[in-house]
């Protein structure tokens, strides 16, 4: 059974079918790419998967569970974490606290214990610190643990967003244009990071990307969207060689 199974997903905004009859099936451990020209509806698909928008039709199943009508928060608890096209960090908070916010669902103590700093507080905070540091090390952010997120350089902000998403311990990670605005060096580094996340956590990843070098370099499978519809789907090499896809990208 596929980890993510999406059937006939559709949504309209005032008569415009932004996503139309979208289907995708992602196996556990796969690295899957979602590509397509600007305005094809890629981010809308992410917003549908994470409950930001509710679809008009279709079913989304994660690990067999129907999550179609669940809220963004519930969907995160079910196991989907994401990053954003325009980075959305907790800017006024230190790097480590960004990750600890992500950990909060799995390391609990009561509000009263939190206010009094008693009971499980000390023990759980210590565990969170350790886990957060372990994650930050993976992303090479451990030296910046006390830096405010807004003071990080661009590339590290992207990494921190992935680290925060990973802290929620997801089954599926959605990356929305992780290489946007990066130079080739940074993109290379990002590809290493994504590869590392797969190796370290055995993570299933769906990513939106325009950088063809990145897509062809790391994605195993691709879905191409055009005008909200699936144009082509399959193994990366085959998809990229498809004349329809080339036409959509380069025009006639």
């Amino acid at each position: 059974m596929a980890l993510l199974d999406v059937n006939n997903l559709s949504i309209s905004f005032g008569g415009l079918r932004a996503v139309d009859d979208f289907n995708i099936s992602i196996e556990k451990g796969e690295l899957y790419g979602l590509i397509g020209p600007n305005g094809a509806g890629k981010t809308t698909v992410f917003n549908l998967l994470t409950g930001v928008y509710k679809p008009n039709e279709g079913i989304i199943r994660l690990d067999g569970e129907d999550i179609t009508r669940k809220s963004t928060i519930e969907i995160n608890h079910c196991g989907i974490a994401r990053t954003f096209q325009n980075i959305r960090l907790f800017k006024q908070m230190p790097v480590i606290d960004n990750v600890k916010v992500g950990l909060a669902e799995h390391y609990k103590y009561s509000t009263l214990e939190g206010i009094l700093h008693l009971g499980k507080y000390k023990k759980v905070e210590k565990e969170m610190d350790e886990e957060a540091m372990r994650l930050l090390k993976v992303f090479d952010l451990d030296k910046e643990r006390d830096t405010l997120a807004s003071n990080l350089p661009y590339g590290k902000q992207r990494k921190l967003e992935i680290a925060r998403a990973m802290a929620t311990n997801p089954k599926l990670l959605l990356l929305d244009e992780p290489a946007a605005g990066m130079n080739p060096n940074e993109t290379g580094e990002l590809m290493d990071t994504i590869a590392l996340v797969r190796k370290e956590f055995g993570m299933t990843i769906l990513l939106i990307e325009h950088d063809m070098k990145l897509v062809s370099g790391i994605c195993e499978k691709l879905t191409v969207l055009n005008f909200g519809r699936v144009l082509c789907q399959g193994e990366t090499k085959e998809v990229l060689a498809d004349p329809e896809v080339i036409k959509a990208y380069l025009g006639e």
Binding site: S71, I73, N76, F90, Q92, V101, A104, G114, M128
Partner: protein, 353 residues
């Protein structure tokens, strides 16, 4: 390392409060404080308390409230009602403690109830609705008549006569005339203790799982949601705690004066804005700053008494100039350049709490 730094920072904050307490107590007991100044000490503590409460709402939760004095008003009236009704029955210590519990509980309850509609709004719309609720609370309390006699509590929205009290019954809340004769239970020491407790609650909250969630919502609610944070729940929590602390300030307030009335001067939007001034000048999100700013700015007009009629004028000019000097992007840039020339390094990162 970092845990220590936060703990150290918090200890400094408590230390400043304790040092101020010792300083003023010594000054008072050695006769170096005028009776006028002595009268300002308790108000100073409750304004510091409500400034801490408002900073939790504005700086930590990131929602602008210009109606916080409404919660102070609720705390003041519910606790004063209780204290006056039980003045003959209970010993003062227990009575005042219970008065605190009641004032805080009612302020929290109203914070929660008002929070439900208010927190659905955003930005300036949210701010104006908090202002509206502050005014509504003040207005309704002004129209309340409550009396007690042998047969129980009587209530009216028209006038004291409508209560129909027995002989020997007593009007406790007398409409716009408010509550007269609340026992004077507030002392400077109790005020300082309440301030320390408020600081303890807020500073600890900030450094907990819940506090981080609240600040995450402030920084980016969309990201907070997709990180699994219960945005509505944490907003309600922060707003309710903030209202509760404002209620505690109200208890100190009402047990420090003879006649408690819901006037604009103390509970209207102007009063709420004055607290907001403390918070902004002390540093948005900087709890220690709020306490210091509240104390200094509360005392400032009083210290300017020598200038008699000009004092509020001077205060307003100081306020405008301080805001421009502290916040103008051009001036900040100029300051950085000038300081850089003298080899100062700019502060890395803003301090939170």
């Amino acid at each position: 390392m970092k845990i220590n730094k936060i703990t150290k920072n918090n200890l400094i904050t408590y230390g400043i409060v304790v040092a101020a307490f010792v300083l003023f107590t010594v000054l008072a007991s050695t006769g170096n404080l005028s009776s006028h100044m002595k009268g300002l000490l308790i108000p100073m503590t409750y304004y510091a308390v409500i400034a801490v409460a408002l900073n939790l709402c504005v700086g930590i939760l990131g929602e602008l409230s210009i109606g916080h004095c409404g919660f102070m008003c609720i705390g003041a009236f519910t606790s004063a009602f209780f204290s006056k009704a039980t003045a003959e029955i209970l010993p003062s210590g227990i009575r005042f403690f219970l008065a605190f519990l009641i004032g805080i509980a009612f302020a929290a309850l109203f914070g929660f109830l008002i929070g439900i509609p208010v927190l659905r709004l955003k930005g300036d719309y949210l701010a104006i609705v908090t202002l509206a609720f502050g005014e509504i609370i003040k207005n309704i309390i002004n129209a309340f008549y409550i009396g007690i006699d042998k047969s129980g509590i009587h209530f009216s929205l028209k006038n004291a006569m409508e209560l129909g009290l027995d002989e020997g019954g007593e009007v406790i809340v007398n409409g716009a005339m408010g509550i007269t004769g609340t026992p004077h239970d507030s002392t400077f020491t109790i005020g300082i203790i309440v301030l320390l407790i408020s600081l303890f609650v807020v500073l600890n909250l900030i450094n907990s799982r819940d506090g981080r969630a609240i600040m995450a919502i402030r920084d980016n609610y969309i990201a907070a949601e997709s990180t699994g944070i219960n945005v509505t729940g944490y907003k309600m929590m922060a707003f309710t705690i903030s209202a509760a602390i404002a209620g505690a300030a109200g208890v100190l307030f009402s047990h420090n004066i003879t006649t408690l009335t819901a006037t604009s001067q103390y509970f209207g939007y102007n009063a709420s804005i004055m607290i907001l001034v403390y918070v902004v000048l002390g540093g948005i999100g900087n709890i220690r700053g709020s306490v210091i700013a509240a104390c200094i700015l509360y005392l400032l007009p009083e210290l300017l008494r020598g200038f008699s009629n000009y004092r509020m004028l001077i205060y307003s000019i100081v306020l405008i100039v301080m805001m421009i000097v502290n916040w103008s992007p051009k001036i900040i840039e100029w300051r950085k350049r000038t300081l850089g020339r003298f080899g100062f390094k700019k502060n890395s990162g803003k301090e939170i709490a």
